[in-house]
């Protein structure tokens, strides 16, 4: 176990920022802590680093209880959103800073700095001052600086938040490569689900200072346990239903219950339909999946690779969103106001809370 959090809590005044947060992270894992702003995720990261003291709970890094240790003694590397490079030092001097603190001999230091500059793809830019580097380059230097001492754990607080979309995608890949090559355990905090999906071995969803659930990106996207997870990770259609035995009752429709939902037997549930699992047809026979009902097309919008169709389903007076392949949309030749049948290829159940 590389990182172990045991009931870590933090209050500011009467307000709970982080509440009894427990988590285990494996060695070499890239764990993404995903949550909206104000969910306590950055505070939690700062507590792991020792930058913010926790009120209660324990923190273990590689089986070492670091709860009472200062940030200097925790053996972590930290990357801030705003890079926070030392402005009066060159990129190379920034990276060398931690090595000087450890009194690493100059020759060895230079070699390590050279190696890290190569790792971040900035071998020729070591002599630049931070002000002469782009945001993306500065952030890469910040990552290299955090890695210089070969920390056991790398903590990244919204590291790409201040960068534009294109650079962000590039840096994610870069970070993933570096993390895997060095096999360093990392926690990355973000509110960006795309970033979480692309980087994470596992994602922890945090809201209101509580860890709601942990899982692989696929699990959390396809089979979440919480409504919050379902709605926070991508868009979703939620339909009120009943589960009786192995059958789902949705209005007058009967559908077989999806796997791994036995614990919800005999309960009021919500059917969770990802828009890309929703299908549209002009006749019920043309649906591949289960028929949900019929309705009127409200709107059709271009959504990049796919087209987003909103259908007002008559049976239960609710709008369902579908993501449709443009070819399919053309083939159907639908317009707002047209009558269509709505089906679902696969779906998931959520407890009704």
């Amino acid at each position: 176990m590389s990182i172990l959090l045991n009931k870590v809590s933090k209050k500011y005044g009467a307000q709970n920022i982080v509440r009894e947060f427990s988590l285990e992270i494996e060695s070499g894992e890239l764990f993404v802590l995903l949550g909206p702003s104000g969910s306590g995720k950055s505070t939690l990261l700062r507590m792991i680093a020792g930058l913010t003291p926790q009120d209660t709970g324990e923190i273990y890094l590689n089986d070492r209880n670091v709860t009472a240790l200062s940030p200097q003694k925790r053996g972590i590397g930290f990357v801030f959103q705003n890079y926070s490079l030392f402005q009066h030092m060159t990129a190379a001097q920034n990276i060398a800073f931690g090595l000087e603190i450890l009194r690493v001999p100059k020759a060895e230091r230079d070699e390590r700095v050279h190696e890290l500059l190569g790792l971040i793809g900035m071998a020729d830019l070591g002599n630049r001052m931070p002000s002469q580097l782009s945001g993306g380059q500065q952030q890469r230097v910040a990552v290299a600086r955090a890695l210089a001492q070969r920390p056991e754990v790398l903590l990244l607080d919204e590291p790409f938040g201040a960068l534009d979309v294109k650079i962000r995608a590039q840096l994610r890949q870069n970070l993933r490569d570096i993390q895997q090559r060095l096999n360093v355990t990392a926690i990355l905090v973000t509110h960006d689900q795309d970033e979480a999906f692309e980087l994470a071995d596992r994602i922890g969803v945090i809201d209101g200072g509580e860890l709601l659930e942990v899982g692989t990106p696929y699990q959390l996207y396809r089979k979440p346990q919480h409504r919050f997870t379902a709605t926070f990770l991508g868009s979703v259609n939620l339909l009120a239903a009943e589960r009786n035995g192995t059958t789902i009752h949705l209005g007058d429709k009967r559908l077989p219950a999806p796997p791994q939902t036995d614990h919800l037997a005999g309960q009021s549930v919500e059917m969770m339909l990802r828009p890309e699992s929703v299908e549209i047809a002009l006749t019920p026979e043309n649906l591949e999946g289960h028929l949900l009902g019929s309705g009127i097309v409200e709107s059709i919008a271009f959504a990049g690779v796919l087209e987003r169709v909103a259908i007002r389903v008559q049976d239960w007076e609710q709008t369902v969103h579908a993501l449709v392949n443009p070819d399919k949309a053309r083939e159907l030749n639908i317009r707002p106001g047209d009558h269509v049948y709505v089906g679902v290829r696969d779906f998931h159940l959520l407890p009704l809370n």
Binding site: N82, F86, F97, G98
Partner: protein
């Protein structure tokens, strides 16, 4: 006092007078107010030729006065640079009752007539007062009519310079930089020395130099506290005043030229520091 040197030229607002008119006005103002007097005093100082100038400034009383001015101003600058930085640090990073009041009181030395400063010091440290008497009789330290009195007066009036130069820089520091240093194993002291200090150092030196330049020519408070004893407690400014009173304009001008020169060097130094600080 504001020490803002914008890195980029601001967008120029369009004014009705025309660009050349505006430039001419600004440059004329500078010439009339500063350049002409500076030129005149240099001409006056050197009128009798370099020999006479040299004789004027190497007179023992003149040399002693110049040296006294420079070293007392220097001591003041060093002390105020350290204490001013400390004060700025406290003002920026700590909360305490009366902080706002203190923050506005700091500028007081700019506003108080320097003669009043002198009178205050006499009332506080004069031989008949409690503090002055104690220092003199028990510890044998003479404050008034001696260099300590001069330094005290200069400390008072040089107080705001470093604080006002360092304060905005400290306030603008990125706290994450210090935290980054902590996570890299740097102690608070190492972090201060290697991360905070380099960031505020140019502002400290600038404030110190400006205070030094201001103190060099101080007259009002010193004429009261120093006692004006030639070779002992007579500063250059007071010496010049004495020469003017005695009708010896040439000697007054010569010593003035030296003071001017020192100030010029200091001002250029401040400018140099700001130009070099390209990463700000």
């Amino acid at each position: 006092m504001q020490l803002a040197f914008p890195a980029k030229a601001a967008a120029r607002p369009h004014l009705p007078f025309g660009e050349w008119g505006l430039r001419a006005a600004a440059i004329t103002y500078l010439i009339v107010l500063i350049a002409i007097p500076v030129i005149v005093i240099n001409i006056e100082g050197l009128r009798g030729g370099l020999d006479l100038f040299w004789t004027d400034i190497t007179r023992p009383a003149a040399l002693s006065a110049l040296w006294l001015s420079i070293w007392t101003a220097g001591v003041m600058a060093v002390v105020n640079t350290i204490m001013g930085t400390l004060t700025a640090y406290v003002l920026v990073f700590y909360k305490f009752p009366g902080k706002r009041l203190l923050d506005s009181v700091i500028d007081l030395p700019f506003a108080i007539p320097t003669l009043v400063t002198g009178v205050m010091l006499v009332l506080l440290y004069g031989p008949q007062t409690l503090i002055g008497g104690f220092l003199d009789q028990q510890l044998g330290i003479r404050v008034l009519f001696a260099p300590p009195g001069i330094i005290l007066a200069l400390l008072f009036l040089g107080y705001p310079f470093v604080i006002r130069a360092v304060q905005p820089v400290l306030a603008g520091l990125d706290a994450n930089q210090q935290e980054a240093a902590f996570t890299l194993g740097a102690s608070s002291w190492v972090t201060f020395r290697r991360v905070v200090l380099p960031a505020i150092f140019p502002a400290m030196i600038t404030g110190g130099l400006l205070g030094f330049a201001r103190a060099l020519g101080e007259f009002g408070s010193i004429v009261i506290v120093s006692g004006n004893i030639p070779m002992r407690s007579q500063t250059a400014a007071v010496y010049i005043f004495g020469q003017v009173e005695g009708g010896n304009m040439a000697a007054a001008s010569s010593v003035s030229v030296i003071l001017l020169l020192v100030s010029l060097v200091v001002t250029l130094g401040v400018d140099f520091i700001y130009r070099r600080k390209s990463y700000a």
